[in-house]
C-alpha cells in the first residue's frame, strides 16, 4: 500500500483522528494530534491490512520559531512490506505525549534518547532516564536554543586549542632567519671603542 491508501484505511478506522496527510516533498506524512497518538499507533499496529509491526525511527525536530517540537515516527510493516510516517506537533514549553512503548518495544530506547536530547516527556515509558548524557546534566542539547554549560562537575567543556602558542614552521624559519641576519649585522657593525 502507498501512503495515501494507508491513510485512507486509517481514516476509515478512526475518522478525523487519523489527521491530515501532508503532501510533503519526499515522504508523505500524516499529521495527527498528540492526544490521538497512542490510538492511531494501536490502529496501525493491530489492523490486519496495515499491520505496522515495527517502529523504525522516532525523532524530534525543534522549531523554536513556531514554538513547537515536532515528533516524527517512521513505521514499517514486515508483514505487508510498506512504510508510513506519522508526525505530531507538541507544545515546546511543555512537550508531553503518550509513550508508544506498549505498542512497540523498540520505542523504549528511542524515546529515552529523545527525552534526553529534547526534553520531551513520554508518559508511560517504563524507564524514562537520560540515555546518552550524564544523569545530572542540565538542559536538552539538541534544542536550538541550548547553550553549553561552561563546566560539568568542575570539568571544563571547553578545551584549549592545542595550537595556541605554536608557530607555523615556515614562519618560525622566517623569524629565525631574520634574527640571524640581525645578529650578523650587529657583528659586522664597527665596534665603538675600536677593540679588536
Amino acid at each position: 500500500m502507498n501512503a495515501a491508501e494507508i491513510h485512507a484505511r486509517l481514516s476509515e478506522l478512526l475518522g478525523a483522528r487519523a489527521g491530515t496527510l501532508s503532501a510533503a516533498n519526499k515522504d508523505e506524512a500524516a499529521l495527527i494530534a498528540p492526544r490521538d497518538l497512542l490510538e492511531v499507533c494501536r490502529a496501525l499496529k493491530t489492523d490486519d491490512a496495515l499491520a505496522f509491526d515495527a517502529l523504525m525511527n522516532l525523532g524530534c525536530v525543534d522549531w523554536p520559531g513556531k514554538s513547537e517540537i515536532e515528533l516524527v515516527l517512521h513505521l514499517f510493516s514486515y508483514a505487508r512490506r510498506h512504510g508510513f510516517v506519522l508526525k505530531c506537533r507538541l507544545d515546546r514549553a511543555q512537550p508531553r505525549v503518550a509513550s508508544v512503548v506498549p505498542i512497540w518495544s523498540s520505542a523504549e530506547w528511542l524515546e529515552r534518547e529523545q527525552f534526553d536530547l529534547f526534553g520531551v516527556v513520554f508518559e508511560g515509558n517504563p524507564d524514562l532516564r537520560r540515555l546518552l548524557m550524564p544523569d545530572d546534566w542540565i538542559g536538552f542539547p539538541l534544542r536550538k536554543d541550548y547553550e553549553e554549560p561552561e563546566s560539568w562537575h568542575g570539568i571544563s567543556t571547553v578545551r584549549e586549542s592545542p595550537l595556541d602558542g605554536f608557530v607555523r614552521l615556515d614562519e618560525l624559519k622566517k623569524k629565525l632567519a631574520a634574527s640571524r641576519a640581525e645578529t650578523v649585522k650587529a657583528a659586522d657593525a664597527p665596534k665603538p671603542d675600536g677593540a679588536p
Partner: protein
C-alpha cells in the same frame, strides 16, 4: 540553558535510584565496563549478579557520545560527510552512503551508474571487513583467540584495497553527495578479484576452525534466543533480524543503489544447532553474508559500466526549509536510517541517525535475565554492537 518548565528531575527516575534499587536487593553489583576487554567500545553494563548466574545487565551507554547529530546541524551538507565516518568507524562506508542517499533524495540528485557500482564495491568490501571484526571478536569473547588474528589478517587486505581507493583505511570519506570521490584506480578489478578468490578459501578454513567447533557450538546454541516476533518488536535489523528467521534484506526487498543488478542470496537463521535466533545463528549469518558479499563484488566488477563517477551537483546545496528526506540502507549492522530536515541556509535543520547497534543494545537487558556471566559476553558480541554507533 534549556527552556523553562522542563526540569528533568521532576519526571525521570534518576540513574542513582536505579543503582540503589539493585544494591538494596542484596545481590552483587558489578560494573562491566566502561573499560572491559569485551564490551566492544566504551559501554558500561551494570551487572546485577548472584555469583556466576546474573539477574540482569543494565546497559549504560553514552561514553562515546560526540553529538554528531548536533554537528550535522552546524555544518554544510557536503561538509558533514567526514563526520559520518565516525558514526560507525568499523563500517564507515555505509554511514557515508546513508548520508549521501539522504541528501540525494533531499536535493533530487541522480547518481551516475558507475558511481553506484563503485559504491557497491566499496560497501561490500567494507561489509566483509566489518563482519570479519564481528565474527573475530565474537570468537575471541568465547575464548578462542586464534580466529581473531585470522579475521584481522584478511581485513588488512581489504583495508589495503580501500586505501588504494580513497586513501584512508578506517574513516574513508569516499562517497560524495551525487557520486564518489575517486574512480577505481588502474588494475583495481584484478586486485579485488585476487583478494576475493583468496578470501573465499579462507572462509572455508575459518568455518573449519571455529564455526563448527564443538565447544563453540555448545557455548552458543540456545543462547540469547530472539524469536521472530521479539526481533521485529524491538526493531532488530540486519544480520540480527535475519538470524531470527525474518527473510528481509533491504538490498533485495527495497533495492537501492545498483543492487537490483546483482544476484545474491539472503542467509536466514534456521536454528541449525539450537533454536532459531540464537547466538550461533547470528554468527553463522554473518559468515554467510561475507560469502554473498564476495559474489556481489565479483558481479559488480564484471558489469562495471563506463561513465562519470560524479553527478552534476550544484555548488550551493539548498532546499526549502522544513523539507525532509529519509534514507534507509543495509549497513553491516543492518538497516541504517538517516532522517534529514532541511534548514533555511546550506545546513540541515535537524539530522537523526538511527543505527542498528542502538536497537540491538535496547534488547540486551531483556535477554540478559538469568543467563551466566560468561554468556553475557557472548550475547553482546553476537548482537555485534559497536559503541560509537549507539552513542553517535
Amino acid at each position: 540553558m534549556s527552556a523553562p518548565g522542563t526540569d528533568p528531575s521532576a519526571t525521570m527516575t534518576s540513574g542513582k535510584e536505579v543503582l540503589k534499587r539493585i544494591e538494596y536487593s542484596g545481590e552483587m553489583l558489578v560494573n562491566m565496563g566502561p573499560q572491559h576487554p569485551s564490551t566492544h567500545g566504551v559501554i558500561n553494563f551494570l551487572v546485577q549478579t548472584d555469583g556466576e548466574e546474573m539477574t540482569r545487565a543494565i546497559p549504560e551507554v553514552g561514553y562515546l557520545h560526540r553529538s554528531i547529530e548536533k554537528i550535522g546541524e552546524r555544518c554544510e551538507y557536503a561538509g558533514f560527510m567526514p563526520y559520518t565516518d565516525r558514526v560507525d568507524y568499523i563500517a564507515a562506508m555505509f554511514a557515508n552512503q546513508g548520508w549521501a542517499m539522504a541528501c540525494e533524495r533531499l536535493f533530487a540528485i541522480e547518481v551516475p551508474k558507475r558511481a553506484e557500482y563503485c559504491r557497491v564495491i566499496a560497501c561490500e568490501l567494507n561489509r566483509i571487513a566489518s563482519h570479519l571484526i564481528s565474527v573475530g571478536t565474537m570468537a575471541m569473547d568465547v575464548g578462542a583467540v586464534t580466529p581473531f588474528p585470522y579475521a584481522l589478517r584478511e581485513r588488512e587486505f581489504i583495508n589495503d584495497l580501500l586505501e588504494e581507493l580513497c586513501g584512508a583505511r578506517l574513516t574513508y570519506n569516499y562517497l560524495r553527495i551525487g557520486g564518489v570521490a575517486f574512480d577505481l584506480p588502474d588494475g583495481y578489478s584484478e586486485r579485488v578479484l585476487r583478494f576475493v578468490d583468496h578470501f573465499e578459501k579462507v572462509l572455508v578454513e575459518f568455518d573449519r576452525l571455529i564455526t563448527q567447533n564443538r565447544i563453540f557450538v555448545e557455548r552458543l546454541r540456545g543462547l540469547g534466543v530472539i524469536s521472530r516476533a521479539l526481533a521485529i518488536d524491538h526493531c532488530l535489523v540486519g544480520p540480527n533480524l535475519r538470524a531470527s528467521g525474518v527473510d528481509w534484506d533491504l538490498r533485495r526487498d527495497l533495492p537501492y543503489s545498483a543492487y537490483p543488478d546483482f544476484e545474491f542470496a539472503v542467509p536466514v537463521g534456521t536454528g541449525a544447532v539450537g533454536k532459531t535466533g540464537d547466538a550461533w545463528d547470528r554468527f553463522w549469518v554473518r559468515t554467510r553474508e561475507m560469502q554473498e558479499s564476495c559474489r556481489i563484488v565479483r558481479q559488480a566488477l564484471q558489469k562495471l559500466p563506463e561513465g562519470p563517477v560524479m553527478a552534476k551537483v550544484p555548488r550551493r546545496l539548498k532546499a526549502p526549509e522544513g523539507t525532509d528526506a529519509f534514507s534507509r540502507i543495509e549497513s553491516a549492522r543492518g538497516d541504517m536510517q538517516y532522517y534529514v530536515v532541511a534548514g533555511p541556509g546550506e545546513m540541515a535543520h535537524r539530522l537523526k541517525i538511527r543505527t542498528g547497534s542502538f536497537n540491538a543494545m535496547g534488547i540486551i537487558e531483556k535477554l540478559s535475565r538469568g543467563i551466566m556471566l560468561a554468556d553475557l559476553v557472548a550475547l553482546i558480541a553476537s548482537l555485534d554492537v559497536v559503541a560509537p554507533e549507539i552513542d553517535r
